[in-house]
Amino acid sequence: MAEELKLFRTWSSPYSLRVVHALKIKGLEYETIFEDLSSKSASLLQYNPVNKKVPVLVHNGKAICESLVILEYIDETWKQCPLLPRDPYEKAKARFWAKFGDEKLSSSIWNVLISQGKEQEEAIAAAVQNLKLIEEQLQEKKFFGGEKIGYLDIAFGWTANLISILEEIIDLKLVDEEKLPLLSAWMQNFSDDPVIKQCWPPRDKLVVKFQAMRESNLKTVLSQ
């Protein structure tokens, strides 16, 4: 039976991109459905009625939601190119740091995007602290997964893409090569990987999008 594999995503969603990365690394064929979140398709609402969000992976009619849950599903279903570590303790650490990335780290990066002046300075200091914690997990490895890209590299992938865009918009460096040398190298290695490289959304479009998000959030703060 031919496998049916569909991914509901948007062009820019970093969470959707995680699933794209995993599917490509595993060498899987799939159909992409691009969603417009301001006008969600009936299919998306049917497959993800609870959160109504992307990404959603549909495998032979069964919908899997939440990007990190999808990553684990993909890894358990297709055994080639394993993404998660085998060892339970290493696995627990990978899951812990992926969650940290999605909660503490991403909100601290968001705070840098939507602030300015003194507030932004403080936001940057907090973000850099969090980035230092991530860097400590790399130790001397090329990737968080070791020699090859794994679950945690994919989970952190958004940083390799979006932080440089943020830096361009605010004209300030967050990941300084001197202060965060290992993380800086990882971002380069991850971005240059041939499988990852082909998936990045168009950079100029992303800059426009995040610039607009910054401006609308700054305006909201000023008008309060």
Binding site: V50, N51, H59, K62, I64, C65, E66, V69, I70, E72, Y73, E76, T77, P88, Y89, K91, A92, R95, F96, K99, F100, K104, L133
Partner: protein, 227 residues
């Protein structure tokens, strides 16, 4: 591995701490329960969970594992005694993990909102959201249990633990707010499940008694009003 030292850093009122304790009970693994003093954090906690400084933490040998649901998965992967906590089928696992995330990210914060709500209107609105969430979970229960007693089937599993740990606080919120949240009419399956879960051998001894929890909640409330 089973002969290595197993410790849980936690506190008896915490629903999150209940989760790994239930999991270890399912696996019949003996552990030392080190309780944190309310209002202060021990050196061991700060050393084992420097990022969040929160309970629970499982310390297995020298290895600290943090975040309650991550700990439960770790326990399931390390010990194969008792029964499996996560389903064996990848899709069923994904469904269980999805709902556990929903419970932690959306449903439980809603439960907390009730106790913090100012005024009857706000309390009523918050309660309605919690009940609406339980209706979704009732539907999930029907799909996951496939006619059996628990989300996990014949025996309690990951999703039972993820939701069941909040039953004590749910009951306290109902009593203190004079509300009905787990409604026998709206969510008949969950209503029955709640009883079965609470009396399960792996759960009974770690589920705080409602009266004791309510006394604790009153102390908490008084402290938060004073500050």
């Amino acid at each position: 591995m089973a002969s290595e030292d197993v410790k849980i850093l936690g506190a008896w009122p915490s629903p999150f701490v209940m989760r790994p304790r239930i999991a270890l009970n399912i696996k019949s693994v003996n552990y030392e329960f080190l309780q944190e003093q309310f209002g202060s954090k021990s050196d061991l906690l700060l050393k084992s969970n420097p990022v969040y400084k929160k309970i629970p933490v499982l310390i297995h040998g020298e290895k600290p594992i943090c975040e309650s649901l991550i700990i439960v998965q770790y326990i399931d992967e390390v010990w194969d005694s008792g029964h499996s906590i996560l389903p064996s089928d990848p899709y069923d696992r994904a469904v269980a993990k999805f709902w556990a995330t929903y419970i932690d990210d959306k449903w439980f914060p809603g439960l907390r909102t009730i106790s913090r709500a100012e005024g009857e209107e706000a309390k009523k609105a918050a309660a309605e959201e919690v009940t609406a969430g339980l209706v979704l979970l009732e539907d999930a229960f029907i799909k996951c249990s496939k006619g059996r007693s628990f989300f996990g089937g014949e025996k309690i599993g990951y999703l039972d633990i993820a939701l069941g740990c909040f039953l004590g606080w749910l009951r306290v919120t109902e009593k203190m707010g004079n509300l009905k949240l787990l409604d026998e009419n709206k969510t008949p399956n969950l209503f029955k499940w709640a009883e079965k879960f609470s009396s399960d051998a792996a759960v009974k001894e770690v589920m705080p008694e409602t009266g004791k929890l309510m006394d604790f909640a009153k102390v908490l409330l008084a402290k938060s009003k004073a500050s």
